[in-house]
Amino acid sequence: MVTTNDLKEKIIAGLGLEDMEPDEIGDDMALFGDDGLGLDSVDAIEITLILEKEFGVKVTNMDENKNIFETPNTLVAYINEQKA
């Protein structure tokens, strides 16, 4: 079972957020947009590569999976659902 902490560690390493600690990213913090972590579209692509490499999970269709990128919680739920 992947935890939000596992995911945050991989995101911090993968996106080069070298000055951040996992506990600075809330489980329900928006990953994109002005009010959250402030990631952008290139970071979204990097996250899909992280999911594939680190957790063996592919995201193949943006239309069907728009909501999974919202927060660490939604991403982890998707990872665990795919791995189940």
Partner: protein
Amino acid sequence: MRIYDMDKKCYTEIQKHDNPLTKIEQLSDAMYCYKNSMFKMVYDATQPALVSYINSLDTNILDAEGMQWLYFTSGTTGVPTGVFKTKENSHKQAMALIKTFGDMKFNRVVTTVPFVHIYGIDIGGVVPMVLDIDVWTKENFLPEELVKEAEVEGTLVVTTPVFIKALNRMKNNAKFSKSLFLTSTAPVPIADGREFYENYDCSVLQLFASTETGLMGYKKNDESILKAYDGVKISQKDGMLRVSSPFVTQKIISDGRLKRVESSFQTEDIVEILSVNEFKLLGRSSKLVKIAGKRVSTVQVEDIIESIGGVDAVFIKIRKEERALKDEILDIYVEGSLTLEAKTVKECLKEALGSLHIPFKIYNHKKILRSSVGKKIGFK
């Protein structure tokens, strides 16, 4: 030419949009203007500094007579420049690019790039219009989605180096032997170009271009030498590329004023000229970094951070991280009493540059070294 909205899974009309927000609306509006020879200003409305600069311009200088486009650079270098182009400029440029495709034939263009700058509109929009083939696009692409589209025979993919790197890292078994990838906005490292060709049996044609000059040169896959496009004259001054191009006018807006510039434009690209139409890109002026296709001036970032209380001086070095999608990272060396936190830097950059996530690392309490004329030269 028709526009296919991949999100809505239907064709959409080419029509006027007064406030185009989505990629589809931006493309539809731009192509309507092009088709009907209506002047259009093109800029990235998500850049606050740029928007406020454009709003501050005297409307009298936005003289559109005989012009098709007024493209603005992103403003992330601190000095937005407006470049006027005629319809003929764009058409000539499209023809010069199409000539480099050789025998390859395409039945559609799939584009991942937005339509708020020269690459999106002139290449992602005008080229398919000249070829009279459909453009397929959607708001956000995932690498897996692009793989599916590129597998379709006769697809011309207009994209960026980010996707080339992402597809290389995926190591998918797909082959795109009947398609062609175009990239621009930043160079594709030679190893990445070769890896892409070997993995996918598909060429990447790298377009070397800027808003101020239009298309300048091109190279394929792992080639290191750029060839100038037909009609583009290249030279160098102080080791930096100068370009005289038939793809732009000499009419620009700079520092809030309308100017006529020399036909030869001085770039910030360090080059070696090999022949009348061949050159090698050796690097860029070290003061510019490219993040997600946008040129960002490290001098401007230094100025922004130095405006924070408790920060006396800032020196920025650019670090390369080849495998990362954002492959240029800012190492920020800070002199001053304040222990500067990443959160503070992010807030300041967001205010000045908009929602652009720039990878950086802060080194606090350093001593910034200066030359005898006060220029920052290093740290200790």
